[in-house]
Structures are given as structure tokens and as C-alpha cells.
Amino acid sequence: MSGDKNVAFELEIPANAKYISLARLFAGSIARRMNFSEDSVDDLKIAVSEMCTNAVVHTGNGTAEKPPINIRFIMGEESLTVEVQDRGPGFDPRCVLESPPSELLEKGFGIPLIRSLVDVFECQSSPGGGTKVTITKFLPGRERG
């Protein structure tokens, strides 16, 4: 896949938990075609799955006619960037945990997990404005330019 600069793929799925596996599968296929290692493919599948899960859960998970989730994959020469955009209620990203919770909680693992599996994590959200989470993972030996 060399010689391409920033090839983009877009995927739109219904805001419903049962279709997250398709996004994950697609993420894995793209990562494999970029020759990421099988470990990195796994990392990316988990990260994309977590991003989509948050997007779907906070958009109401198929409760009614909910706006779909948009996923954008940008294949660079040295990295894969994935953006997941929802049109849910949004939130204040400053409230998000940087690392897993210290008490024994049943939630709050998502974002810390994503952070530890990818090289760049960004979250644009504001209450009422939907959320866009962007991650980037570099091919080996290509980290941070």
C-alpha cells in the first residue's frame, strides 16, 4: 500500500450495538492491508470498538430513530488515523479518566484502554454538540516522526 498519501475510507453504521462488530472487522482489515503486526491489528480493533461503543451507547443504542455513527479511516504512509463521530449529547472530555479507576468500578475502562493502545488520542466534544474521537497508530519504527 506504499505510495499512497492519506487514503480515506468512510463508514456509516446505525447507532446500534449489534453493528459495532462490522466496524471492528473493517478496522482490522484496513490495518492488515497496511501491514500492521497482528498485535497492532488487535490494538486497533479494540480501540475502534471502544470508540464505537461510546458513540453508540451515548446516541441511545438503537432506542429510536437515532442519527448514525460516522467512522473515517485515514491511511497515511506511516500511520492509520480513525475518527469516530456521533451526534449524541456530547460531554466534557476533561471529566474523563486518564487511567483506569483505582477503586473496583464496573465502568470507566474504555477511554483509558484506548489511550494505552494507540499513539495519539484526541476527543472533541461539548455538551449538546456530539462527539468526535480521533486516534492514530503508527507503523513500527515510524512513531512520532
Binding site: 449489534k18 459495532i20 471492528r24 488487535d42 479494540i46 470498538s49 461503543t53 453508540v56
Partner: protein
Amino acid sequence: MVDNEVREGSELDIALEHVGDHSIVVLSGEVDVYSAPKLRDTIKNLVEEGRYRIVVDLEDVAFLDSTGLGVLVGGLKRVKHHQGDLGIICNQERILRIFRITGLTKVFTIYSSREDLLASIKGA
């Protein structure tokens, strides 16, 4: 050429086995936000039946995410309430990693194989 992609489809199969006072919950497939409620219900039912020694076998799990972790932690809390325990059987690095990153290797008893579990049940 076998095509296993079909099995990547967030399908989760759950089988139950009882060994002495231990209940083994054998998972195969993917544990994500779509399939996790099935696991949550299984554990909840066991606890309601008074079975507080639960071991979840993750050897045939192809994918596990934070929702799956949450369900396992929830199960652990439930059984602890009754002086029980919830452990996992897992020898897959790709899955163990997720427990390690989230600090949960310290929280769950981890058996590296079915034999490992059975030996520990016998030894007890």
C-alpha cells in the same frame, strides 16, 4: 481455504459446567457491548441459584472489550458479597493484555488452563 471471518461476528456462545461447588462459564466468540448482557445474565442467574464460586473460561474468546471487563468486575463484586470468588481461565496473551492494562490482573484469580483450575480445586 477456510473462511473464519464469519466467526468474527460478535456472536457469543455460553456453556455451563459444574465441578464440585464451582461453576465454569465457558465462552466462545466475542464479548462486546452487544453480547455482554448475555454473559451478565448468566452470572446473575448463577448467583441467584446460590452458586458463588464462578470461573469464566476465556480460552475460546476472540475479542473482549471494556464492556466485557465491566461485566466480569460486576460478577466478582456480586459473588464477593457472598464470600465467593470469580476467576478466569485465560492463557491468551491478546486477552490477558487487556486485564493487565486495566489493572485487573490483580483483581481476578487467573488460571492458565482448565487443568490448572481443576488442580487448584482438588488441592483446596
